[in-house]
């Protein structure tokens, strides 16, 4: 894919929650194509908030948001963004809601308008990639915390995103699962934007670090 424009360009972004708390203030950031970056910062500095703004789940109070080379302001603009960016939530219980793993992994592809056979193929592909082949027919809410985490990743990989946004992907993973995740992310070769407090994990997966402090990138 030829991408000459930055995947994300944020200019002078401000955001306050309705209760008036100013979380982001004059934040600017350029996410070049192919970049693998980590996002760090103390608890409560607004890392999750920033990802929600990028996905269009929250709207900025001020500033400019450009994704895949186009300004994004309205809900329709973000439809395209969501088809292109795979976002894995901090808490897997928020992400998984279908009865079986296969249904959940197929949810995104079916929403993108894929046929059943294609969706099936995507399900197998994504699960195999994560070594979850045997989980297809498992009941999602009976999985362990770590298994849920990996399945949530599968639910966005099946949409074949151009960029992955991961919110604390290693929280609750044991050593082997976390190693497996490192390997999968490296094999994928996709651009990555990862919130994590796990320095070791970041060292193995990303080449650049953004640090969020007092509402902007330092």
């Amino acid at each position: 894919m030829d991408e000459s424009y930055p995947l994300i360009r944020i200019t002078d972004l401000g955001f306050s929650y309705p209760d008036g708390r100013r979380v982001l203030d004059g934040l600017s950031l350029v996410f070049e194509p192919g970049l693998k970056a980590g996002l760090t910062g103390a608890n409560g500095t607004g890392k999750t908030t920033l990802f929600h703004l990028i996905m269009g789940l929250l709207r900025p109070t001020s500033g400019r948001l450009e994704i895949f080379g186009r300004p994004r302001t309205r809900e329709e603009d973000f439809r395209e963004v969501r088809a292109g960016i795979g976002f894995v939530f901090q808490d897997a219980d928020d992400q998984l809601f279908c009865p079986t793993v296969a249904d959940d992994v197929a949810f995104g592809p079916l929403n993108l308008g894929l046929g059943r056979d294609e969706a099936h193929a995507r399900v197998h592909e994504a699960l195999d990639l994560l070594g979850l082949g045997a989980y297809e027919h498992r009941i999602t809410y009976q999985l362990s915390g770590g298994e849920k985490k990996l399945v949530s990743l599968a639910t966005v990989l099946s949409m074949k995103p151009r960029l992955l946004l991961l919110d604390e992907p290693t929280a609750g993973l044991d050593e082997p699962a976390s190693e497996r995740l490192v390997q999968v992310l490296n094999d994928l070769g996709l651009p990555l934007f990862i919130i994590s407090h796990d320095r070791d994990f970041l060292k193995k997966t990303v080449t650049h670090l953004f640090r969020l402090e007092a509402g902007r990138i330092r």
Binding site: L57, F97, D103, G108, L110, N111, L112
Partner: protein
């Protein structure tokens, strides 16, 4: 707690298309609910028992569900016979039970058991996701379908949340008593449960939107009407007509 415990099984009812089972269950429930004649109520109950046997549901689990329903009905038996005017049947101290009251209580009991069994045999034998898809095919408004689906899905989540909160209280040595402190703690528990569930519902909706959800639920496993579905539709249609016919004409008894 497993709300879909009957959804998978070996019987024909498990394999039928939800698009024929939903109307059948609805029609059977409605006829049973409005019926007045004993012959219709008895026939409906027999039909439901037959369906339950046909679905080969595990006896003990069905019994547990029926027990819950009939415990509730026991309350009706306590009050209805004594509060309905009519011919005296028996006296209990200052209270007199009437034939009419007892008849009413019996009718409610028959109806409830027949409907519960019918719904168990017809609807609980499909996974909820298929029912949801069936409802959409039957042109039920999307809002209702979603309400149904998420009520089902998040019942589980809220229950788990409740267990977690209770556990958090227990590990800090909370023992419920009948005092103000206990009531306050329980009120907090309920309040917290509501707030957390609300928050969670928002986040789940956000996660769904991130995966391209636009208000329509698609399903991976498609179903097609087969011969057995059409036969079932015809058979259940006939049964309902017979029941309705018995109710609104004066045939038999």
């Amino acid at each position: 707690m497993h709300l879909e415990e009957f959804a998978r099984g070996p019987s024909l009812l498990h394999r039928l298309d939800p698009r024929v089972k939903i109307p059948a269950a609805l029609a059977l429930s409605m006829v049973t609910a409005v019926a007045d004649r004993w012959v219709v109520l008895a026939a409906a109950l027999i039909l439901s028992v037959g369906l339950t046997l046909g679905a080969r549901l595990p006896f003990s689990r069905v019994a547990a569900r029926l027990l819950a329903v009939n415990l509730f009905l026991a309350a009706i038996w306590l009050f209805l016979p004594f509060s309905t005017p009519g011919r005296p049947l028996a006296a209990l101290g200052p209270f007199t039970a009437t034939w009419e009251g007892a008849g009413l209580a019996l009718a409610v009991t028959l109806k409830s058991n027949a409907i519960v069994l019918g719904v168990l045999a017809l609807l609980a034998t499909s996974p909820v996701f298929s029912l949801v898809h069936g409802l959409r095919h039957l042109r039920v408004p999307d809002k209702l379908v979603h309400l149904f689906f998420f009520t089902f899905r998040y019942f589980q989540v809220i229950h788990e949340e409740y267990l977690r909160l209770r556990l958090a209280m227990r590990v800090r040595c909370f023992v419920p008593k009948t005092d103000r402190r206990t009531y306050r703690a329980l009120a907090w528990l309920v309040g917290m449960l509501l707030v957390r569930s609300y928050d969670r519902s928002i986040r789940v909706h956000q996660a769904m939107r991130c995966r391209g959800y636009d208000g329509r639920l698609w399903i991976l496993h498609h179903f097609e009407l087969e011969n057995r579905d059409l036969w079932f539709l015809a058979a259940s249609g006939c049964m309902i007509l017979v029941l309705a016919g018995l109710e609104w004409t004066n045939l038999i008894l």
